[in-house]
Amino acid sequence: MAASQPFKTAGLLKGLMAKYYEQGNLARERGVPVAWVTAVSPVELVYAAGLFPYYPENFGALAAARKVADKISMAAETRGFFSDLCGYARCGLGDAYAQEHPVGKIVRPDLLFCCNTQCGSLQKWFETAGRLYKAPYFLLDAPLIENASTELVKRYFVEQLEEAINFFEVATGSPFNFDRLAEVLDLANEACRLWNEILDMAAMKPAPFGFFDACFHMAPIVTWRGTKEAVMYYQELKNELEDRLSKKIYAVPDERFKIYWDHIPVWPKLRWFSDLFAEHGALVAVSQYTHSWAYQFDLDRPLESLAENYSEVFSNRDFEDRIQLKINFMKKYQIDGFALFSNRSCKPTAFGLYDKRKIISDRTGLPGIVFEGDMSDLRYFSDEQVRNRFKIFFEQLT
């Protein structure tokens, strides 16, 4: 029900992602080192260095969406990794040990580049993978920003970006090309601009596009950011959405309510949730998650600008800032209620939600709930419990 008619660009997306995975598999043969990277990290540097950026989180999300995350995780769990670790990490580590590869084999890294702005789980997962594959590991460290960023944090970030460039030069054996970086940043700016214009269309009432659609279409902004492919893709998607608007094709045909979602989707339940909301005429319009890729880089000061963009994302902000960012989205998208996902795989986004729910309701007057589950592992998800919690939530939307 998310979209009454399938997107034409869906075929394009499929081809684009197939090409991405193919490049990953061929990279080593072509003499291009594979760098594992995290979703919210300056991949622009990696592309500019001529390395192939591989996203193990994407592998985790893919396994989750195909409902095999728990199966792949088991291979890690029997080795002593615990079921309460991040579901993506268990998948990524599990696949290295597994005999069967239901979503293809995870590509082994020649080097690992992790930014811990999202969480400390990635920091540990990548460190563990570095030990496992005996590959060099670089942590781009993001100290939490309270209130406003400081010169101290910015300087630290820039200094680390310079260290990262050295790290990449060792891997490629050639000097880093700043002209190439400028091209990449320019393309990243363009893709981010288009992506955010698309996300903003969810504020229309009724809207042609919502959060669950964004989850489907977000892969290129993560993996192809900084390339022509991403720009081309989001231009096509935007054209299609404009075409849909003119034909009055909406995400939820009888849209009555707009919902804010926090933060990541429950991947194996994407359709389930999409239907649940649509049944009540509700469109999940926005989440901080899909807005993570909203960078605008200043080409005249590339490293400083990369530092500002990546260290100041919401996942690196403190309690009060995160509340305010959520409320800003609620205002901008004229939200009627909000659902906060206490994601067992993700302590940094989950911890604090119990208090935030109350504070946001107090400040905005909007109804909101917290529900428990896991973004990838269905062993931690109860259809019945979640449905019951949402039943009460929908009753408050009037």
């Binding site: 080795r79 400390g120 942590l139 260290e163 309690f319 911890f351």
Partner: protein, 392 residues
């Protein structure tokens, strides 16, 4: 016999402090009032707090009954260390604190500070935002800056500036404490019959709960008696027991050390935050004190919370086992401690590859079966060297 009793009496002081930590700090506070500033264990520059004129106070003595008190604010799949500290705060157990410093060492510490500030704030609520990588030059310059920031915040709260000489004096005082505790640790390794596992770990933990001036007097008295006694006997009374290395975050619940004592195990090395990691290295006493504090933090023994490609924890632990003569390793893990969980399988494999037997013991503050832990530790001790415990 008199001496032996005296050692036990002196050690009992540490036990008493840990059993009711609020009594001693409040007594000190009544005698000489100054703000008490708490900290979560233990990557915090206590010397700065001390030099500001406040009393540093570690939140390291846990009352398991308060774990569930935090449930309305914090998911039950947070570690019991965080849940218990915060639960105790909600129950008013730390109301005598004027401030709290939370070191960012994992996702839980990073997130709990906002919740704490929201629900049970003290006048001075600060994070110590540590660099999570420790072996690149950028970590050092950032950490010096962060220490400067924290210093300025303390100065503003205390309404006075901290002179370099004052900070140097605090550093010397703390170095003296660490040096003496290391000496005590070595006595324990040689003579566990005089200084048990519980004794030495209590001595270290109690150092976080009372002013170092007082603690230094206690430890120096204890060392004097221990030295006298070993000297008088003048025999190298080779230690009985099975030498083990303990690795993990904290030794909770404390009964674990009693169980180890009863099973004939001697902890000869550890990397616990409330153990040897707290006393492992000193702060350089000359030069810029903030730079010295930064170097001290960066050169602490490897922990799963910090990326250290220069000295990976895998090699560090294997080397430490060899250097200390430990015959096996006990992983002491708190349930839901992510950083330890990620490290464990490869650490275990590295130890087995080096023919080092090891066992994992999982505990949870406020919800623990002493019987189960006891059975695991005893079985491991018997496997490592039963004849040394029961024989001769």
């Amino acid at each position: 016999m008199t001496d032996h009793k005296t050692i036990k009496e002196l050690c009992a002081q540490f036990t008493r402090i840990i059993a009711e930590p609020n009594l001693e700090i409040q007594r000190v506070h009544a005698e000489k009032p100054a703000p008490i500033i708490g900290f979560l264990p233990t990557d915090v520059p206590e010397e700065l707090i001390h030099a500001s004129g406040a009393y540093p106070y570690g939140l390291v003595s846990y009352e398991g009954m308060w774990v569930n008190r935090a449930d309305a604010h914090l998911q039950t799949w947070a570690c019991s260390l965080a849940r218990c500290s915060f639960g105790m705060a909600l129950a008013g157990k730390f109301d005598y604190l004027s401030g709290l410093i939370i070191p960012h060492i994992c996702d839980t510490t990073r997130m709990i500070s906002g919740i704490w500030k929201q629900t049970r704030p003290y006048d001075f609520m600060e994070n110590f935002v540590l660099p999570r990588q420790v072996d690149r030059p950028s970590a050092r310059s950032y950490l010096i800056g962060e220490l400067g920031r924290l210093k300025a915040r303390l100065e503003s709260f205390m309404g006075r500036s901290i002179a370099d000489e004052e900070l140097q004096r605090s550093i010397s005082l703390y170095n003296k404490n660490r040096t003496m505790l290391r000496k005590l640790y070595q006595f324990h390794v040689r003579r566990p019959d005089l200084i048990s596992n519980l004794d030495v770990f209590n001595a270290i933990k109690s150092a976080m709960l009372i002013p170092k001036e007082l603690h230094n007097v206690m430890v120096s008295e204890l060392l004097r008696v221990v030295e006298q006694q070993t000297h008088e006997r003048n025999t190298d009374d080779a230690a009985r027991g099975v030498r083990v290395l303990v690795t993990g975050k904290v030794w909770e619940p404390p009964a674990i050390m009693e169980i180890l004592d009863e099973s004939g195990g001697v902890c000869v090395a550890d990397d616990l935050s409330t153990g040897y990691r707290y006393i492992a290295n000193d702060v350089t006493e000359n030069g810029d004190p903030l730079e010295a504090l930064a170097d001290h933090q960066l050169k602490r023994p490897p922990s799963p919370c910090f990326v250290n490609r220069g000295q990976d924890r895998l090699e560090y632990l294997v080397d430490k086992v060899k250097a200390s003569g430990a015959r096996g390793v006990i992983f002491l893990h708190l349930k839901f401690c992510e950083t330890e969980n990620y490290d464990y399988p490869l650490l275990r494999d590295a130890l087995f590859a080096a023919n080092i037997p090891n066992v994992r013991v999982e505990s949870e503050i406020g919800n623990v079966s002493h019987g189960q832990i006891s059975t695991r530790i005893q079985a491991f001790m018997e496997m490592l060297g039963g004849e040394e415990i029961y024989g001769s």
